[in-house]
Symmetry: C2
Subunit: 252 residues, 2 copies
């Protein structure tokens, strides 16, 4: 049984609390947040506190806080030589105060408070400074996920950057599609099967092979039509830049 | 029973042939292609021809050919006053030669020859010039899909344009993510659950509500880190443009 204490109360912290609580191999001993009101509704399930001097002893402390808060919070911890990990995609483990053993526990997924997630399919990127800590952290990760992986900070930074492309930027393309269709009284809902199929296709086939459409075919007539239909200069610029990018990739 | 003749042998033609053949309400009477070799392997399932003067009589002729070929092929048809439809997202029904009754049968999906598709979930956009033809075409569409919809040419053009954003452009973002991760020895595979979750989320929640990440939070430190990590000017430009777009959408 691995004992864990969670620090922070954002989406990652909340989803991790749920996942750890459901695992028979993990005991969440305590949940800390600066503002206790946010976690008060959990007080019947776990010991909660807003007093950092009152933290219990545990095998692993998980700092699920914003990137900027990691260094300071870690320096306030009232103990030494315990395993302290953060959950950030872009912060170095060395940002954690060196009085403790340090590591990273980064779940590669988008979390919303209202949407439940199945942790078993979420890749968790692990990094520690020693092998013994790696084994301990890996045991924690495999207790909730079937996809854990040792990832160094450079690789993690590239995954975090790539995640912005496939999640935030892709979602903005969906948003633009929403605007384009609604402007003409067409239904965004009609695009939903295509959105799913596009994501499904690259589960099996590489994005390079999966590409189709006017940019790849260099269908100038359709590209011209589309640019004319877009009355926003911003959307025209996005259309041009991504069309050029596809044509570079596919050697046009 | 509706009788249909398919003209063309690309991905859409092939997938439509399969779907119509499996429907008990449709009889595919003939399949025409200029180059008969491409459809020769189907000769035991359907009458095939490369001679346009030998086309049989049928209720509906489906021109599943490239946008540029629609007008010419329709003018070569050796009959009049029959229902002839094309399958294009961006071509007007009036591009079909006026000696026949005209319409559009546009399945809103991405088709690859090797990937089987479940037509029942694919939206089919229908347009005809008369009500009687609409009822006939709708019967054909509902024989293979549960999502048929009357869509005028302006709406269809906007759906086709929006499809380029959610399919081709999104796929290019996946491609860029592939390059970014592999360049650092990280695995693109680790992004696949996130890709799926991003597409799944907007099946229920609007893309506006689904947005998260550094651009929306205006997390300047992370944005700066990411731009530094991207060594390609092209990818930096895409990152900046889509970050600006997210910030405009979310009022930053």
């Amino acid at each position: 049984m691995i004992s864990v204490i969670i620090l922070g109360a954002g989406n990652v912290a909340t989803h991790l609390f749920r996942a750890f609580s459901e695992s028979s191999q993990v005991s969440v001993k305590q949940w800390y947040n600066r503002n206790i009101k946010i976690i008060e509704s959990f007080k019947n399930e776990v010991d909660i506190t807003d007093d950092i001097s009152q933290l219990f002893e545990a095998d692993i402390y998980v700092l699920a806080v914003s990137d900027d808060a990691i260094a300071e919070l870690s320096s306030q911890l009232p103990f030494e030589n315990r395993l302290v990990v953060h959950t950030s995609g872009s912060v170095n483990p060395y940002d954690i105060d060196k009085k403790n053993r340090r590591g990273v526990f980064y779940p590669l997924q988008t979390f919303s408070k209202s949407v439940t997630v199945n942790f078993s399919k979420i890749p968790i990127c692990l990094e520690t400074l020693t092998k013994a800590d790696y084994l301990l952290l890996k045991t924690l990760a495999t207790s909730i996920s079937n996809h854990t992986k040792r990832v160094n900070s450079d690789q993690r930074a590239s995954l975090h950057l790539a995640a912005v492309f496939v999640n935030n930027f892709t979602n903005q393309l969906y948003r633009i599609a929403h605007e384009i269709t609604e402007a003409k009284g067409a239904e965004f809902d009609m695009l939903k099967p295509l959105i799913l199929e596009t994501a499904n296709k690259v589960q099996e086939v590489s994005p390079y092979k999966a590409q189709t459409g006017p940019a790849k075919r260099n269908d100038k007539k359709t590209i011209k039509k589309h640019l004319k239909l877009l009355d926003s200069k911003e959307y025209q610029a996005i259309y041009k830049l991504l069309t050029d990018s596809i044509q570079k990739t596919h050697g046009r």
